[in-house]
């Protein structure tokens, strides 16, 4: 019995000592990794990771060393955390008639697909983001964008969705789908994006 306890204690100590911090940069859905700057709290040299599966591991001296992990390593070591990732956001885009918050006929039909996605999720929350084209001022477009989002929110509430499950945002003309010069009417930029999350 005693011997078992000693072995157990040794094993626990060994695993605690062996555990070092490990940070691994992963590729995104397009294969790009971006950069991850690792700045040691105790001072010391920062590490910049910029390749998929490039890693930083803490050393006993309090600093970090650079290394390489792999898809298999990450899947094994981080299995539980990765597996608990929220399902990806489902995105829909609906279009408006010029200067109004009235949907185009085709977009009215897309509403059914959105409702299906919402009911398929256990705890759905919806973000409605309104966008405009570049006709008018930035401030006017911020308001029009928000109005489009609010008007769509009402439509979802009529379908039985709770008020606090829907957030609205107006991005105005900041994020055009199609780049245009200012004061250009562009139907594809007059839209709401629906994020079902």
């Amino acid at each position: 019995m005693n011997r078992l306890l000693i072995i157990l204690a040794l094993a626990l100590t060994a695993s605690a000592c062996a555990h070092r911090d490990n940070y691994v940069l992963l590729p995104d859905s397009t294969g790009q990794a971006g950069t991850l700057n690792v700045k040691p709290v105790e001072g010391g040299k920062p590490i910049k990771l910029d390749q998929p599966y490039q890693a930083a591991s803490s050393t006993l001296g309090g600093g970090f060393e650079e290394g390489t992990s792999s898809e298999q390593d990450v899947k094994k070591r981080y299995a539980a955390a990765l597996d608990a990732s929220p399902p990806p956001v489902a995105r829909f885009t609906l279009y408006f008639l010029e200067g109004s918050d009235e949907l185009t006929p085709a977009s009215k039909r897309d509403l059914e697909a959105i409702m299906a996605e919402i009911t398929a999720r256990p705890a759905p929350d919806i973000v409605v983001v309104g966008h405009t084209d570049r006709v008018g001022t930035v401030a006017d477009n911020d308001r029009l964008a928000k109005r489009r989002a609010e008007s769509f929110k009402k439509r979802l509430q009529e379908r039985g969705l709770a008020d606090d499950a829907i957030q609205t945002a107006g991005r105005g003309e900041r994020e055009p789908l199609i780049e245009t010069p200012d004061e250009t009417a562009e139907p594809r930029n007059r839209r709401v994006e629906i994020l079902v999350r």
């Binding site: 605690a16 555990h19 911090d21 490990n22 940070y23 691994v24 940069l25 992963l26 590729p27 995104d28 790009q32 990794a33 971006g34 950069t35 991850l36 700057n37 690792v38 700045k39 040691p40 709290v41 105790e42 910049k48 990771l49 930083a56 803490s58 309090g62 970090f64 990450v74 070591r77 981080y78 299995a79 539980a80 955390a81 990765l82 597996d83 608990a84 990732s85 929220p86 399902p87 956001v89 010029e98 200067g99 256990p122 705890a123 929350d125 973000v127 006709v135 008018g136 001022t137 401030a139 006017d140 911020d142 308001r143 928000k146 957030q167 945002a169 991005r171 105005g172 900041r174 999350r197």
Partner: protein, 164 residues
């Protein structure tokens, strides 16, 4: 600009005064204490929850069930068999493996400009991080801090493992 009738135009004009005041006010609040946007104190929601998951808020402990909302200063903890996936307002996500603890030190997000501040302290455990709109707008505005290092950058996905 000729896009609306006279009635609507008048209403928009009146509305714009109110909106202008409101946005000035919220901009001041944002700068002073980085409070979450007015009207939405919640910064995140639990989307996946397995095993024992709990939320500590103002010294109280709550079960971390699917659908539970989270805000700044909340502490997320998982037990030995637990894991949890959290979605933030800016589409960032954090998911935690077993025996993990993460403190949401700061979360502020403006859904119009995508400006914000997101600081989380990963005290222990494994965490998978997906950056959202806050980091897309300003990479340094999202920071994951561990006892040993501070992480930030343009990365969209990375994983973090912190020992005891």
């Amino acid at each position: 600009m000729f896009r609306t009738g006279k009635h609507i135009r008048v209403r928009i004009h009146l509305g714009s005064v109110a909106f202008g005041l409101a946005s000035m006010f919220s901009a001041t609040v944002f700068a002073a204490e980085a409070a979450p946007q007015a009207g939405n104190i919640w910064g995140a929601q639990i989307k996946v929850s397995r095993g024992v998951v709990s939320i500590e808020r103002d010294g109280q402990r709550y079960p971390g069930l699917v659908g539970a909302r989270l805000k700044e200063k909340d502490v997320i903890q998982t037990g030995g068999n637990g894991s949890v996936g959290v979605m933030f307002n800016d589409n960032s996500t954090l998911s935690l493996g077993p025996d993990a603890e993460v403190i949401l030190q700061r979360y502020a997000y403006d859904s119009t400009t995508y400006m914000g501040a997101f600081d989380a302290y990963i005290k222990r455990g494994t965490v998978s991080v997906q950056a959202g709109n806050i980091a897309k707008q300003a990479p340094d505005a999202m920071r994951m801090v561990t006892p040993k290092a501070e992480l930030s950058g343009t990365a969209k996905n990375y994983v973090v493992s912190v020992g005891e």
